[in-house]
Symmetry: C2
Subunit: 298 residues, 2 copies
Amino acid sequence: MLEAVERKIEQYIADLGDPDARMLYARLPHGKRLRARLILTIAGTSLPAVKTAAIVEMIHAASLLHDDVLDDAYVRRGHPSINAAFDNKTAIMFGDVLYSKGFLELNDIGREVAKVISEAVVRLSLGERNDILLAERFNTDRDAYLNMIDQKTAALIQASAEAAALLSGKDRNIYRTYGRNLGLAFQMIDDLLDITEDAATLGKPAMHDFAEGKTTLPYIYLHEALNEAGRDRLVALHGRPLRPADEQWIRTEMEKHHAIDRSRNEARRLITEAVELMEQAGETSLEAIARSMIERSF
Amino acid sequence: MLEAVERKIEQYIADLGDPDARMLYARLPHGKRLRARLILTIAGTSLPAVKTAAIVEMIHAASLLHDDVLDDAYVRRGHPSINAAFDNKTAIMFGDVLYSKGFLELNDIGREVAKVISEAVVRLSLGERNDILLAERFNTDRDAYLNMIDQKTAALIQASAEAAALLSGKDRNIYRTYGRNLGLAFQMIDDLLDITEDAATLGKPAMHDFAEGKTTLPYIYLHEALNEAGRDRLVALHGRPLRPADEQWIRTEMEKHHAIDRSRNEARRLITEAVELMEQAGETSLEAIARSMIERSF
């Protein structure tokens, strides 16, 4: 089912008539194509659905290219990222090419879908900026974190579900909520895996978020639970490379204070809500997508 | 006349509901607003024309933000660029915000205009990449240079003129050609000023292009005209900071071999052609815009 989407993206890239762009695209990992799967599962495999899925995946790839520059991330899915294999300039520019080609092709789909997707990209861009700003100090504000992941991750997943509902004449609001919950839970799980999994499983360095200054939910909950001395130690470790002993200390303390469980339960609640919405709508395959979100290790 | 455009951009920025984005926008120089002037001169000051002008200027500002990162440029119009005053990350992300908000608002204008503008942004992004790729070695291929500036600079100016013609029911092809000629000449003159003017006039370092590896028309013509020893010297200086004596040598040789005049004449020919097109179309104010292009010093 995703094959049609891959072919469509390749066609969009070929349209550019630029050998360099084709070379760069060939080096991008395809990833899970979660957004495309979501769109096709909701809207079926009509040509507009396949095009929308291809466009959203191109936009998502563009955002990752810029994100890896913003995060100084040099590995993605076990391979050097474009900014590492080439340089930041290449990643920025190729991101711009994918973004703009995506927007260009949106004109072909229909005004409502185009608005939903491009609105999400605005929020996604603001979210990437807010992710960086929040990381300047040890953020303990859970709402600020939730608002940021709502922009950075949930916006495009939510828009994918909503656009697919529009394309297939389904109730946009239900799918919008479903997509938002999925997106929030997806990011929460991603943030958990950064702590619980090792580099080999992740295909990138473990515990990179905290070294980058990002205090995801488990860090916020741990900070809440620690006494003053513990808090001071935790805050002192923020935003710099962790020594193995400090990594171990953080993991042990998180275990002790149930910071991971509390975060995972929060993601689970969002998924349960999403599954219930889909049960009501009689969409059984969307239950599976939602559940796969919290039962993954990378 | 441009006041309405400034207000519209400010409104688009305010729409974002993001204080950080508002702060960053306030720090951006407004520039000449050439593209907005072009659109309003062709299409009048109807709301769709003002909106299109505002969107195009936001997209142009986004491209400059990314361009300054790509070019390691730290000064723009006499002020520190965003990448210098903040960092590359801020410039990348704020560029993404301006791009995506621009694309979002395009949905409001009409499908043909949206296609023309977003197609130009694809070419602009490819052009910025090709600008970097061409600079990797001493490029002597005039056609490769022309194709690159066609993408990087002419595409959006051409699209501005074409979109304005669409909005006002004028012949899109005439305005498209006019805009393309203007854009090519604009970039050629920009490239000349980098050589002929000093840093104080430019509001940025002089002869920066060559240090960045960019062989603009005068360098290509000089290379053609020099004997072998001269060529070797010129090529050896390529892509690194120039000492004052080498700067002086390049200027003297360009003078001797008429490399500047030859380039300026090429820009003039394009402008003359554009002016003739507008005479035929009875658009007197567009003649003035075209002429102002080659009679500027910054």
